[in-house]
Structures are given as structure tokens and as C-alpha cells.
Amino acid sequence: MKYKSIALLTLMLIIAGCAEIETKMQAYPKMYSPSEKPVSMLVVPVVNKSTAADAPDLINSTLTVPFADNGYYVMPISIVSDIFKREGITEGSQILGLPAGVFKKNFGADSVLYITINAWDTNYVVLAANVTVGMSYVLVSTEDNSVLWSYDQQIVVDTSQGQSSGLILLDIISTAITTAITDYIPIARQVNATAVATMPYGKYHPMVGQDGDMEVVLKSSREKALEQSN
């Protein structure tokens, strides 16, 4: 028993050793440069590569909170998306070719946040349900189009309730019901929160500039976001 746990521990150490972790400063040096650090952030319409048509609205309604909490001025998404709609832009892929400088001129934004939903799948197993959500985030400077921050995040959330009624059919139905639309808001929040945890604090955060040493950035996730958004 003891040997087993030692073996397991060693294995975990090996796995942990393979994943390269960077500090926030190593990963995102521009976010610590006084001349390049953004204050304001414009969220442009989401690119949806998943099959869930509802996903972009869910993501949009949960973005302001984590990014504002991280210390940035997030341009009011409800108004911004209305402006895009009026211009005939409802899907993020419509503006991918535009230089980010356009958004400096029209909105006064220091940076633009591009979001891609890569997966949003609900899986029902007999007594359980889970949702796999994969997203990538890329923050680009409107000064020179350079990438300021990027992260790719995939999480699996168990959406079934803890208790079972003992009747399988009833459980399946109640699982399907409990994965109702409002339950996705906490899921969307969770994905955002895990990604935002890697982002350097902004102007309005009490610890701005003091988080450079935090070792929280998975290098592979930082790089993957750049591939996903292409």
C-alpha cells in the first residue's frame, strides 16, 4: 500500500515536471511595461466554434465581472455589442482581419479581447451529466497589434446533483432539467475565472504590479490560445 502511494507520488511529480510553468512576468512582460500596459479593454463579438448557439450570449454576460475584478476598465459589453450589431457584425469571425487600431479610433480602447469558444458540450451518462467547456482568450494591443495576454482553458464541470432518487429514469430526467440554462452561468464564470487567474492585475486592482512572481501560467496553454484563435 505504501509503495503504491510512493509510486503514485513519483508519477505525479514527473507529470508536474513536464508541464512548464511560467511566472506572470515571464509570460506577459508587456503587461508590466508602463507604456504598454492597457487600462481599458474592448470585448469584441465571440467566435463560436462549438455547436452550442447559446454559448456566446452566456459568455458575454459573464465576462465583465472577472476582467473588471482583475483591475481593468471593461467597456460596457451590452452597449458595445449593440453597436457591432448595428454595423452588421454579430459573429467574431467577421472582424478577425481588422487591425486592432480601428478600435482605438472608434472606442478609445487600449486593448481588444478576442474570445474563441472551442467546445461547449453536454454529455449525459446514466446517472450524471457533465459539460466540457473550452475557450481561448487573446488580448491584443490597439497600439501595435501585439499580443498582451493569451490563455486557453478547458474544464469539465459535473452538473448532476449529488443525490440519487434510486429510480434511474427519474434521475436521468432530473439531470437533464438541472442542466438548465441558468446553470450554465456558473460554468461560464468558472471557465473565465480560471483563465483570468493568469492575467496580470490592472490599474484598479489593489495589488497592481505586485503579481509578477506568481507562478500560475501554463506555457502550453498560453501558446495554445494563439493557435486556436487563428
Binding site: S40, T64, A68, D69, Y73, V74, P76
Partner: protein
């Protein structure tokens, strides 16, 4: 020792009672929920509900001595402009600009929309 315990207990209670304040130091109320409703089913009802959330965020933030979160005054202004309450809308837009000077270009765009007869 007992005193320390008491201090910790009081502190915990204080923190627990402030649990509606987010990690970034903002009060968000029902924001995500009423906003999502508004996007999914735009109607007089969902607009009113979201407006109520925004007003609640502003009053709670003032009460708790917190900065009103980014975009809240602007969103309220936008809903008021939609209802043709232009003066109240302009007041909210100006408040947004005062709290967040980096919103200037954007807010001026919204203000010019009102004076030109309304960005809907």
C-alpha cells in the same frame, strides 16, 4: 488568547457579511443574470429588471463605500436613453466618465448619439 479568538470571530463575521463584495472589491448584485435575460429576451420587462439591478449596484456600492463597477453607469444611461429619458441618461454617462476617465472617447460617442436624436 480568548481575546484573539474573539477578534478572529468578529473579523470572520465582518468578512462573511461582506461576501457579496467580489474579489476585486466591487458589488455586482444580480448583474450576470438580468443581463443574460435582457440579451435572450429583450422586452420592457427584462429592460426594467436589468435597470433595477444596475440601480441596486449603484446604491449598494455607495452604501458600502465602493467604486461603482466599470460600465454600470454607462449601461444605465443607455437604458434611459432607450426610454427617451435623455437628461437622466446624460447624467449617468457623465458619471461613468468621471469615475473612469479612460471611457472618455466611448462615452462622448454615446453622448453625441443622444444629442443627434438617439443611438438606439
Amino acid at each position: 488568547m480568548n481575546k484573539n479568538l474573539f477578534v478572529i470571530l468578529v473579523l470572520t463575521l465582518v468578512v462573511a457579511s461582506c461576501s457579496s463584495v467580489s474579489p476585486g472589491g466591487y458589488y455586482w448584485g444580480n448583474y450576470s443574470y438580468t443581463y443574460h435575460d435582457l440579451v435572450k429576451n429583450p422586452s420592457t420587462d427584462s429592460r426594467a429588471k436589468h435597470q433595477e439591478t444596475l440601480r441596486n449596484i449603484i446604491s449598494e456600492s455607495n452604501e458600502l463605500n465602493l467604486r461603482v463597477p466599470p460600465g454600470i453607469h454607462a449601461e444605465l444611461g443607455n437604458l434611459l436613453a432607450f426610454d427617451q429619458q435623455n437628461e437622466a441618461a446624460i447624467a449617468e454617462f457623465n458619471k461613468e466618465m468621471n469615475v473612469y476617465p479612460e471611457s472618455k472617447v466611448f462615452i462622448e460617442r454615446l453622448l453625441s448619439g443622444i444629442t443627434q436624436g438617439g443611438e438606439k
